[in-house]
Symmetry: C2
Subunit: 429 residues, 2 copies
């Protein structure tokens, strides 16, 4: 990790810069596969499953029998843990449902809005070495709470054609009935346009590699919204004399093991903290099975010594971290004033991994500085809000002239007349 | 208007199809202009203002003096009307602020989320024949209520270099202090990347022509979110014996005058209503100053006779109209069961123009079927939500083992150890 002491303002952009990626070269490939899926449906999905995943299932959809077998394979300890995490995530997300609240704008004008679930949603769970069943919880639970009628899940099969049992167990546990063994660009294309066996959806969620990321961006261009733009995971830790170096090092390492492109930044105004944190990182790193990955990620990571907590706050808001740990004494100062962050972990006993799995908050969060304008996934992500207005004769009599004047000034005569015709009739009667 | 009587299911996609546009041919142009803006900033903005708008102001930013002159030019009647609309829109949108509600997940684990305003937002108001001051209200008021610190507005100057006085008056009225005389692709590019005189923003809002629409889509690709994808405005009216043909005709015409690409669909299960509605349309059309435009738009519009209200509901949800007027007897049936619509107008005295200007709801709504997954603009559009978790020693002691098991099963050893290290120390003490 590179250490920066009291950097000047002009050094900040360099220190806070993120690794840059250009996925545009994948655009031609994605467009090509999407075109084929639009034309030949399942045939194209089969072709690219074989080409990219080296496996072609007899059928894409996971059968009841496969669900049963999976359930038996997951050990009871893990089942119990997933059940506790499920309960916590449900408890936090259930609180996000917006109740209808009618507003009487003035006599005879009543307006309200109603949250309605997006009817059909598609969740993508990446394959790879580790089975990301936690992401099934994080996407599936808010979708269920929102009330989405059709929730499908796509995930690539392993080399033997199997989906990790923990993923199938978790899907079934939270009520996702339809899981498809398909991954990559072809999974996103199938969900965007629909095929005979894989239903099209109205919104696509979930993490993925560069192919999936680019496919989601292009699906978005076709009018299918996505949860949020993707980027490598990242963590910022703010610490002072209140911090425990051992804990800070463990948090930085937990983020760093995500991948060689993960980024961690430790910002402090306690110079004495830097040496012990570095020492702890070296000590703990040796014991990690993924130490090469974590080590590569640490090369891109930074320790920044700033003058005081006010400057640390400025740096946090400028960086807009996906995850922010506040291992600091004056927690209230930061809670009050942080404006750009995905999820915030307060104190010495709130490690990032708590939020990754089981505290109840969502782990699908805006990275890459997107926290300046995006929220993490929540029940909000699975609903849209319809507005309603009900105006009585008396209400229109009162507001009508205002509409007539404004429509007239915007030279929209028919807008004006839609009111005038009604007002004339009200007067007559 | 073409009349369809009892169409079969296979005819629905044709009847509910929307005019298709392909803006992709503008992508090269937009990318080119964006590149120039990134390189030369204001110089490029000046160049393209001259090229596309035939006008180059001495300075882009509207001066205090220009605001004062504008205010004097707006007549008092319009000022009063705008003030009433402002009050109603504020009243409806103020109700959308989410309060912090802390959830105790279990003893020692407290989670909550907080809505925080997006710091910097850019509003775009199109030029053209009519001054769209109503859109200044619809975008500016929720931005102000959300608490955005920096709200800028870009709008192209007219041929004499002037911004319509009603736009400047409205901007100043709601507290927008910085307005820039710049339009089109160059305005979106300036807000996306920032120039010396025009600040960059974190999110871009507002309607526009095909150039602006495409520029917003490409800004989105660069990581700058936008309010929603654009499309021509549209209205669906559902009517039965409760309806007044005169009113329905006036509503259909008010939508049709928006532009030749506007679409209106009237769906009814009362066959007797069709002839009087058509008659009223012809009668009222003759009196309209924009009759050519409305007439062209009506050519793309439809009257559909369905079997009953249940079938009408299916058609509404399949079409997902931007605006929906329910001029029907059984209003509750539709209020309860409509799941895809932007904004809904209930009864005979709630014309669409009420929502366009002054009922209080927002008129920036999802068109083109996007209501299946998108909401209209609201205070939500100007905030993002940060989640927080605060876990005590006792809380981590309880949830820690769950995290360890799950992280272990996902093969994320450092995630597990961030918890284990803390639990070991808790045990020791």
């Amino acid at each position: 990790m590179k250490v920066y002491k009291y950097p000047t303002g002009s050094e900040w952009p360099g220190i806070l810069s993120r690794p840059q990626y250009d996925y545009n070269n994948l655009e031609i490939l994605v467009n090509h596969i999407f075109d084929e899926i639009k034309q030949t449906g399942d045939e194209a999905v089969r072709k690219y499953s074989l080409e990219f995943d080296n496996f072609l299932p007899d059928r894409f959809e996971v059968s009841d029998e496969e669900f049963h077998i999976a359930e038996e394979k997951v050990d009871q300890e893990l089942k119990n843990a997933i059940n506790i995490a499920k309960r916590n995530i449900e408890k936090f997300h259930a609180n996000q449902i917006e109740q209808i609240s009618k507003v009487e704008i003035s006599t005879g004008i009543e307006c309200w809005r109603k949250s309605v679930a997006i009817e059909k949603v598609g969740l993508y769970i990446p394959g790879g070495t580790a089975p990301l069943f936690s992401t099934v919880l994080m996407l599936g639970i808010p979708a269920k709470i929102a009330g989405c009628r059709e929730i499908i899940l796509c995930t690539p099969p392993g080399p033997s054609g199997e989906i990790p049992p923990s993923i199938l167990f978790t899907a079934r546990l939270i009520g996702i009935k339809r899981v498809f063994k398909v991954g990559g660009i072809q999974a996103i294309g199938a969900m965007a346009f629909g095929t005979k066996t894989i239903p099209g959806v109205y919104k696509i969620f979930g993490p993925g590699n560069q192919f999936v990321t680019q496919a989601k961006q292009i699906a978005n261009k076709f009018g299918i919204p996505i949860d949020m733009p993707a980027g490598p995971s990242e963590l910022m830790v703010a610490g002072d004399t209140f911090s425990v170096p051992e804990y800070i090092a463990s948090d930085l390492l937990s983020q760093a093991e995500h991948g060689t492109d993960s980024q961690v930044i430790f910002v402090t105004w306690s110079e004495n903290l830097i040496a012990p944190v570095l020492e702890q990182i070296n000590l703990q790193l040796k014991k990690l099975p993924r130490k090469e990955m974590a080590s590569a990620s640490l090369d891109q990571s930074r320790i920044v010594l700033v003058r005081n907590k006010e400057e640390a706050l400025l740096m946090i808001n400028e960086y807009a971290p996906e995850h922010l740990i506040l291992a600091v004494k004056d927690q209230e100062f930061f809670i009050e004033n942080v404006i750009n962050a995905g999820s915030v972990f307060i104190g010495n006993y709130s490690p990032e991994s708590a939020g990754d799995y089981a505290s109840g908050t969502n782990h699908t969060l805006p990275t890459n500085g997107f926290a300046k304008a995006y929220s993490g996934v929540s029940v909000d992500s699975f609903v849209k809000k319809i507005t309603y207005q009900k105006i009585s004769k008396m209400g229109l009599k009162k507001i009508g002239p205002v509409i007539e004047i404004m429509a007239g000034a915007e030279q929209l005569e028919a807008h004006k007349r839609a009111v005038s015709i009604r007002l004339e009739n009200i007067k007559k009667n």
